[in-house]
């Protein structure tokens, strides 16, 4: 079992694996459960070797029954364990919707605080990997509306470790989203030892003056790339990585908008009723008189799914070129 030495370079999938391993090793209450997490070691090999080291009681292969995975995990969480449930692909989460929204999110409220539900649900999401209709979806907006749920979507290895640790520590349910295209694409330094990053704290990944770009997931990396291109042209763009989708870090967003006076939101999930809509509304409510340009959103189109055919997938995804062009227009506006 590979264990990280101080500040190791990892990719995102290694960061998840490393953090889960440490959690299982250091806290007996933790366990993982999901489809193929045991003998198969997860479809991305995140939990490979875990079942041999920690045993089948803490690394549980489940049936293909997402409602059961989450439902069982809720019970474990309410009774003092720290289950880390896995939905193999976010596209499969729908059967668990009732358990997540109707049960987990309401546990603390319904029991008047007698019970909490310290549950983490991890799931790979997102497209751009030729995943077609059943392996490409973004599900955050479906759960965004639900009070009682936290949603995090870090996309840098060090953020993944800090936020996954925070999610495991959190006394309430956390939906932990991992963009599958960043799994092996994104590498970075990960500090050793246990640390957490507070849920609800965004991070300015590329500072700038003339435009605020808010994003998360894969698109943060593209937005940073686009911002670097614009920097070469003398245009200064600030890229904020939300990291936590809910709760939203209003402070960081507003501080940036007050500086740049312009806001672009970029996310892969569909535009209508998406995360960007809420951020737009928040900024319009809190900082209308800071705005020097209409707020804009670059998001997934309103189509039922991402097609398999390459042109369909490309049509769905926002390219770095598109981001750069929109940024240019907005900076110059």
């Amino acid at each position: 079992m590979a264990v990280a030495s101080p500040s190791t370079v990892m990719n995102n999938v290694e960061a998840v694996r490393h953090t889960l391993y440490e959690a299982l090793k250091n806290d007996e209450r933790t366990l993982v459960l999901g489809e193929d997490v045991g003998a198969r070691g997860n479809v991305f090999l995140i939990t490979k070797g875990f079942i041999e080291e920690f045993g089948a009681e803490r690394v549980i292969d489940t049936p293909l029954a997402e409602a059961s995975i989450v439902g069982v995990a809720i019970g474990m969480a309410m009774e003092g364990l720290r289950p880390i449930a896995e939905i193999q692909f976010a596209d499969f989460i729908y059967p668990a919707f009732n358990q997540i929204v109707g049960e987990a999110a309401k546990t603390r409220y319904r029991s008047n605080g007698d019970y909490t539900c310290p549950l983490v649900i991890r799931t790979p999401y997102g497209g751009g990997v030729r995943g077609a209709l059943s392996h490409s979806v973004s599900i955050e907006a479906l759960f965004y509306h639900v009070p009682g749920l936290k949603i995090v979507a870090p996309s840098f290895p060090s953020d993944i470790k800090g936020l996954l640790n925070a999610a495991i520590d959190d006394p309430d349910p956390v939906l932990f989203l991992e963009h599958k295209k960043t799994y092996r694409l994104v590498k970075g330094e990960v500090p050793s030892g246990h640390y957490t990053i507070p849920i609800g704290l965004a991070d300015v990944k590329h500072p700038g003056d003339s435009l605020t770009v808010v994003s998360y997931g894969l698109y943060v990396h593209q937005a940073i790339e686009a911002a670097k291109r614009l920097a070469d042209e003398g245009l200064s763009v600030e890229v904020i990585d939300l990291r936590s989708i809910r709760p939203m870090d209003r402070t960081t967003i507003l501080a940036s908008v007050r500086k740049t006076h312009k806001l672009l939101i970029v996310h892969e999930d569909n535009k209508f009723g998406g995360i960007g809509a809420e951020i737009s509304a928040m900024v319009a409510e809190e900082a209308l008189f800071e705005l020097d340009a209409p707020i804009r959103r670059l998001c997934g189109p309103d189509v039922p799914a991402m097609g398999y055919a390459l042109p369909l997938e490309e049509e769905f995804m926002v390219s770095t070129d598109e981001m750069a062009e929109t940024m240019r227009e907005m900076v110059r506006f």
């Binding site: 006076h261 209308l288 008189f289 705005l291 020097d292 506006f333």
Partner: protein, 441 residues
């Protein structure tokens, strides 16, 4: 397309065609100046919004029409000449109407939106309908920094004024913001001066030859001076007060320094720079006098830009010493000397004339010992320095001969009351009386 009288400044309601730079049949490039328009604020050459041929001049030289009223028709290159208007009821705000003759727009008609079907901006210069929509940030910043946003030259898409433009203008100071524009905030002090500057100032009188028994026609500058004086007196309730200042020691100091100063710096060291220096210090203590009344509140100026009234043989002109609070007495002397030289040579530019926040009038230069000046519109007060006169005065129960100067203040009573005015004059008096040989120039 029909070219309309541009709105040169937010509050301007009419303009006079000063001179046609093109005649019918002449080709005009886009952005090429084709007519010179004068308003009570500025003379400006108006750039053509399109490339084409000047078909018809509607408004002759010397005619004054409301902003938005048609003044000419330009046939655009590549666009067929429009047929005569078939619809008689053209909305007056549609300034892109193709009707060759349209009744003048009411003076207070709202700024027209750009209705040009060709998508080309219609003829009111940069005051295009789209461009006059300002973002919330621009409005807020402009208000906070007292900047006339309509006067800024935008650097955004299609010339839009951006928040950065407002911030940049604010950083340069309100005066600079104005100077950077082609369209200005009304600052009447400079208005008449600006007017004079745009005409050859030295040697060109605002009067025609006064022949007894005849009427002297009013020049444009004379009209403006007349209008502004009446406006100032009508809108700002003038109160007046005066103090006597003992400048004996100051006079001696200046006498000791003036030859050396002239030799070293090349400028005369008059009493004026000492006076302006003291005025600025006193204004700092009473910032409400360095201010401007408006219905939304009193705009307290950020800068101390002191206008100095200079009487020429033919005209009155009020150039501005910018950021006078950053200058020493010697620095003010050089700045004032430079402005006076420029004024006499007729070389004052718009930058020299804009943005005054308070005015000093050296009425004593002509021997006056008492005057009641009219405030320059857009300011809160004007102070005069009267002639220095030797008078017997009582000092420590003895009669002494001292050099006395009266200092008169007219103030806008809407802005301040007598308490502040007298505090200002008292402070000014103390500062002037404290000036003595050996001080810092």
């Amino acid at each position: 397309m029909t070219i309309t009288m541009p709105q040169l400044g937010e509050t301007v309601t009419e303009g006079t065609v000063a001179q046609w730079l093109k005649k019918p049949g002449d080709a005009i490039e886009k952005y090429e100046a084709f007519v010179e328009v004068s308003t009570d604020k500025v003379n400006a050459e108006v750039p053509s919004p399109v490339s084409g041929v000047l078909r018809e001049i509607i408004c002759k030289e010397g005619e004054t029409v409301a902003t938005g009223a048609p003044i000419a028709i330009i046939d655009e290159v590549g666009v067929e000449a429009p047929a005569p208007a078939s619809e008689p009821a053209v909305p007056v705000v549609a300034n892109a109407t193709v009707a060759p003759v349209v009744a003048p727009v009411a003076a207070n008609a709202p700024v027209a939106t750009n209705g040009s079907s060709s998508g080309i901006h219609s003829g009111n210069g940069t005051s295009n309908g789209d461009l006059r929509r300002f973002s919330p940030a621009v409005r807020r910043l402009a208000r906070a920094h007292h900047i006339d946003v309509a006067s800024l030259r935008g650097t955004g898409t299609n010339g839009r004024v951006t928040a950065s433009d407002v911030i940049a203008a604010a950083n340069e100071g309100p005066s600079a913001a104005m100077a950077a524009t082609i369209l200005r905030e009304p600052v009447p002090t400079q208005t008449m001066a600006a007017k004079a500057a745009t005409q050859p100032p030295a040697g060109t009188s605002t009067y025609a030859e006064p022949v007894p028994g005849t009427i002297v026609p009013l020049s444009q500058a004379r009209k403006i001076i007349a209008k502004r004086m009446v406006e100032s007196l009508e809108t700002a309730p003038h109160a007046w007060t005066m103090v006597e200042v003992d400048v004996t020691k100051l006079w001696r100091w200046r006498a000791q320094e003036k030859d050396k100063f002239l030799a070293e710096k090349g400028y005369a060291l008059t009493l004026l720079p000492f006076f302006i220096y003291a005025v600025v210090q006193s204004l700092k203590k009473q910032p409400l006098l360095n201010a401007k009344f408006s219905d939304e509140g009193i705009h307290v100026a950020r800068d101390y830009n002191i206008g100095i009234a200079i009487g020429l043989d033919t005209n009155l002109i009020v150039p501005v010493i910018r950021a006078a609070d950053t200058l020493s007495i010697g620095g003010i002397a050089i700045a004032a000397g430079t402005l006076i030289e420029k004024a006499r040579a007729g070389k004052l530019g718009a930058d020299d004339l804009n943005g005054g926040t308070f005015t000093v009038n050296n009425t004593g230069a002509n021997g006056s010992i008492l005057s009641k000046p009219i405030i320059n519109g857009g300011q809160a007060g004007i102070v005069t320095m009267e002639a220095v006169v030797k008078r017997p005065v009582v000092v420590d129960d003895a009669i002494a001969i001292r050099s006395i100067m009266n200092v008169c203040l007219s103030l806008d009573h809407r802005v301040i009351d007598g308490t502040i005015a007298n505090a200002f004059l008292g402070d000014l008096k103390r500062r002037l009386e404290a000036m003595k040989p050996g001080g810092d120039l």
